[in-house]
């Protein structure tokens, strides 16, 4: 099972683990950013590299090359409010790696706290990882289309409000990704998230499917937000709205209002 004990880890804990050499840290920023500086002992896996081919076979290869075996604790970070890190973390989890967490701040915040950075590139010796795919955390378009009619299923669209109003999957509700963060952490506190979700009448026993615009980053962050608020049954519709539209699946919109014209963009 993929019940994560700790969807996020804070800077103090991570620094302890760096000292103990007991963790594999993945920096998912672009290679040139990583080369400039990064959290000590972290390895680089730009999200684009993963997205180029995120088939289990390829992901397995990537994980093994990064020196991750079944037991290696993994921490992922980015500088994009946690969304890119979430997508990488979720992918490892889907492969069957259970011990993966997100750093609870962005790299900029890490730096602004004055914590140590480094520019040494780490080369890791390849390890062997097994494959135990976790289909219960992934939703496909066909699965979602059927499941959304089920009363116990809640579909959450994590795009911005205007995009949601303009078009969304029928019966989806909207929690924009910006709602999930606090001022200085990629996710709000557990209590704040629970209150927000309870206000929206999202029950812990519901099956929840998250999606966003195209590649499952924003909704990946939502996946971890729900996990951190103790929602056990969450799936990521990883191909998200881009695929849904491409497949000509049904779409609904908020009718009879010119909401776009209220925006100053």
């Amino acid at each position: 099972m993929c019940s994560l004990n700790k969807p996020t880890i804070d800077a103090d804990h991570l620094r302890g683990q760096i000292r103990d050499n007991s963790v594999r840290i993945i920096d998912v920023r672009r290679a040139e950013d990583y080369k400039k500086d990064h959290i000590p002992k972290s390895v680089n896996l730009p999200l684009a590299e993963l997205l180029a081919d995120d088939s289990p076979e390829k992901v397995l290869k990537i994980a093994q090359n990064l020196g991750i075996d079944d037991q290696t604790p993994v921490v992922v970070y980015d500088d994009t409010f946690g969304a890119l890190a979430s997508r990488v973390a979720w992918t490892l989890q889907y492969l069957g790696h259970s011990d993966v967490s997100l750093l609870d701040t962005t790299y900029s915040q890490w730096k602004s706290l004055g914590l140590e950075v480094d520019n040494t590139e780490i080369t890791s010796s390849s390890k062997t990882h097994s494959v135990k795919l976790q289909p219960e955390i992934m939703a496909t378009a066909d699965y979602l289309e059927k499941a959304k009619e089920n009363k116990n299923v809640i579909v959450i669209d994590n795009r911005e409000r205007l995009n949601y109003l303009e078009q969304h999957i029928p019966r989806a509700i909207n929690i924009p990704y910006r709602t999930l963060a606090s001022e200085d952490k990629i996710l709000k506190s557990k209590d704040d998230l629970k209150r927000l979700l309870k206000n929206r009448n999202i029950q812990e026993n519901a099956e929840i499917i998250t999606y966003c615009g195209s590649v499952g980053t924003l909704s990946g962050l939502a996946y971890y937000a729900l996990k951190s608020a103790d929602y056990p049954n969450v799936k990521l519709y990883v191909r998200s709205f881009k695929e849904w539209k491409g497949l000509n699946k049904p779409i609904v919109k908020q009718e009879n209002a010119n909401y776009w014209d209220l925006s100053a963009e």
Binding site: E160, R161, L162, L165, N174, P176, R178, T179, E183, R195, L196, N199, R200, N201, Q254, E255, N256, A257, N258, Y259, W260, D261, L262, S263, A264, E265
Partner: protein, 599 residues
């Protein structure tokens, strides 16, 4: 560029905390009860409005949260919080209203309590921003800096807002109730509101005493009235007693049955001013006598702390960006404090993005010696106490964030209510029309035309005047018209409205198709240019509507004749666009829901 040596990073903190955090929990619980069917729709709606959450066009799922900014004052960290809230719970933009509020639209009803909680952390509230209560207490954004004012009314506005917020007197009025403090005759709208106040000093026995000209019973709406002056001069000690007396009379005699005509102005109109005035004066005496203790407004008279920013080096004159003098002419105002300027930041129909809000927060820390911003009366934002030597640098900063549109204080900056972008009552997209006019007129450089400076354009999406069309030189309100079965959006145009010392409501001219409003307006300007003598556009229109014009074109009927060709509707096959409203590519049809002003 220079470096600032003296600037607190945090920024100035507000003097008043308007919030009560427990109201957030209460709101969340009440929403739950409502969704569970334990609370009637009507009682819930009253509760929701009392807490500042307004309904949204064609849906029960969304609300608009109206954040009150008493006297328009908003501090840097509050602007930053509003920015974040707009991204988290709204559309990534906020909206500055004509009553100095900031609104977050398209908020999911279940999220409203989260916004309230977050606002409370920065001392802001939406309490009594809607519903049958005393709405945001307005104050001229130039109060304290205006040359013509007799004294700064800001502390009185803040004290009035403090006294009435959550006051039991104010929890169940027959209808909404509005205060407006202004600096002088020119810069306010004291006669177009339930209680309007203009500061006035009177010398009594050689001593200068502060007081007010108090106007009662004015207001804009489906039927508008100009307010009446209560007495020659109302001493400052009587400000609170007069306010209480007026609210008590309205509470007692206001019509609770006919929501569509129960603002206080209708009461004044039905009763007659003389009788109403006597009632108020008697009631005021009664209030004086029956107060168990002397009630006084807590007017904070501590002088404003100014923190001028010392710069190491000046602005390099060569790098002043293009358009600076044009912007300076149309957007700045020399204060009575020498060397200081007030700057009006033009928005488009009041809309502002989250990143622009953050920029204004930074800019007010850096450029305003008073360290905060004020919302204005025309969907704009003021920065005051800007050193003259900083204006060019400020312009270049505003330019970077897309906030340097020229002509803020001129006719090219129209008001548009939210219209069909979010309002249940709207018939047309008045919001977008205001933006279209602004873009077109800036392109034509009409802001540089001194003849057009004092005039105004105001647009409402229905007859209800939220866009204040009746006090505009050129006013428009939306409706629908048809050719056979094909509908198209139209605007009723009115001329000559104003809210200054010569306040009058605009005179109806004609109905114009929405897509002809801009060309017809340009034509009218052309006619004015051909007919004008010494007067500017506003004065010429005033002469025309009051029958005092001596030009060739001299009456409403003359203008009507000239603009008549613009009313022609082409066949739909020839001009499909004519039949669609701004912001829409499909055929126009009117669709409205229930309004909530009267809830």
């Amino acid at each position: 560029m220079s470096t600032i040596t003296k600037q607190s990073k945090e920024g100035r903190k507000p003097k008043v905390n308007w919030a009560r955090i427990e109201e957030a929990d209460n709101f969340a619980n009440t929403v739950k009860q409502f969704r569970q069917g334990k609370l009637e729709h009507d009682s819930f709606r009253r509760f929701r409005l009392q807490h500042g959450a307004y309904g949204t066009r064609m849906t029960d799922d969304y609300a608009m949260v109206r954040v009150k900014l008493p006297a328009g004052e908003v501090y840097p960290h509050q602007l930053e919080r509003l920015a974040t809230l707009s991204e988290q719970y709204s559309i990534g933009s906020a909206h500055v209203s004509t009553r100095q509020n900031m609104q977050l639209h398209w908020v999911i009803l279940e999220d409203v309590s989260e916004i309230m909680r977050s606002l409370a952390e920065v001392g802001l509230t939406s309490r009594e921003a809607c519903g049958n209560a005393i709405r945001n207490v307005m104050c001229s954004p130039l109060a304290g800096v205006c040359h013509a004012e007799e004294f700064d009314v800001t502390p009185y506005a803040i004290a009035t807002a403090k006294f009435f917020l959550r006051n039991p007197l104010n929890q169940s009025l027959p209808r909404k109730f509005k205060f407006n403090f202004t600096c002088c005759e020119k810069h306010g709208m004291a006669r177009m509101v339930d209680v309007g106040l203009i500061p006035q000093i009177k010398t009594i026995n050689g001593q200068e005493c502060r007081g007010f000209k108090v106007f009662l019973g004015g207001g804009l709406g489906n039927k508008s009235f100009v307010g009446h002056q209560l007495e020659d001069w109302t001493p400052e000690e009587d400000l609170l007693y007069t306010s209480i007396a007026t609210i008590r009379i309205f509470d007692r005699l206001g019509d609770r049955k006919h929501m569509e005509r129960n603002r206080m102005r209708y009461l004044v109109n039905e009763m007659g001013w003389e009788q109403f005035k006597n009632l108020i004066l008697k009631e005021r005496t009664l209030v004086h006598m029956t107060q168990s203790a002397v009630v006084k407004l807590a007017v904070d008279q501590i002088p404003q702390k100014l923190e001028s920013h010392v710069r190491i080096s000046g602005f390099d004159g060569k790098s002043i960006p293009d358009g600076f003098s044009r912007w300076r002419k149309g957007n700045t105002f020399a204060q009575k404090q020498s060397g200081y300027y007030s700057v009006s930041i033009t928005l488009e129909a009041g809309d502002i993005t989250a990143s622009q809000l953050r920029a204004i927060a930074d800019i007010s820390r850096e450029f305003s010696a008073e360290g905060y911003a004020r919302t204005g009366f025309v969907q704009d934002i003021y920065l005051r106490y800007v050193s003259e030597s900083d204006l060019a640098r400020l312009y270049s900063r505003l330019l970077e964030v897309g906030l340097a549109n020229p002509g803020s204080l001129t006719m090219v900056h129209p008001i548009g209510c939210s219209g069909t972008t979010s309002c249940n009552l709207a018939l047309t997209n008045s919001h977008r029309l205001a933006k279209e006019i602004q873009r077109k007129f800036i392109e034509l450089k009409l802001d540089e035309d001194d003849d057009l400076r004092e005039a105004s354009i105001k647009i409402s999406g229905c007859p209800n005047s939220c866009g204040q069309h009746e006090i505009a030189t050129l006013g428009f309100f939306g409706g629908g018209s048809r050719v056979g079965k094909d509908m198209y959006p139209v605007y009723q145009m009115s001329l000559g409205g104003r809210s200054d010392g010569d306040t009058m409501l605009g005179v109806n001219l004609m109905r114009l198709p929405a897509k002809r409003v801009i060309p017809a307006t340009l034509k009218l300007i052309e006619v004015f240019k051909a007919n004008k003598k010494q007067e500017d556009f506003k004065d010429w229109i005033h002469k025309v509507v009051t029958g005092h014009a001596d030009s060739t074109v001299k009456s409403i009927d003359d203008i009507k004749k000239i603009l008549l060709p613009f009313t022609e509707a082409p066949p739909i096959e020839k001009d499909k666009d004519f039949y669609a409203d701004y912001g829409s590519d499909s055929s126009y049809h009117t669709r409205t829901g229930k309004g909530e002003c009267a809830a």
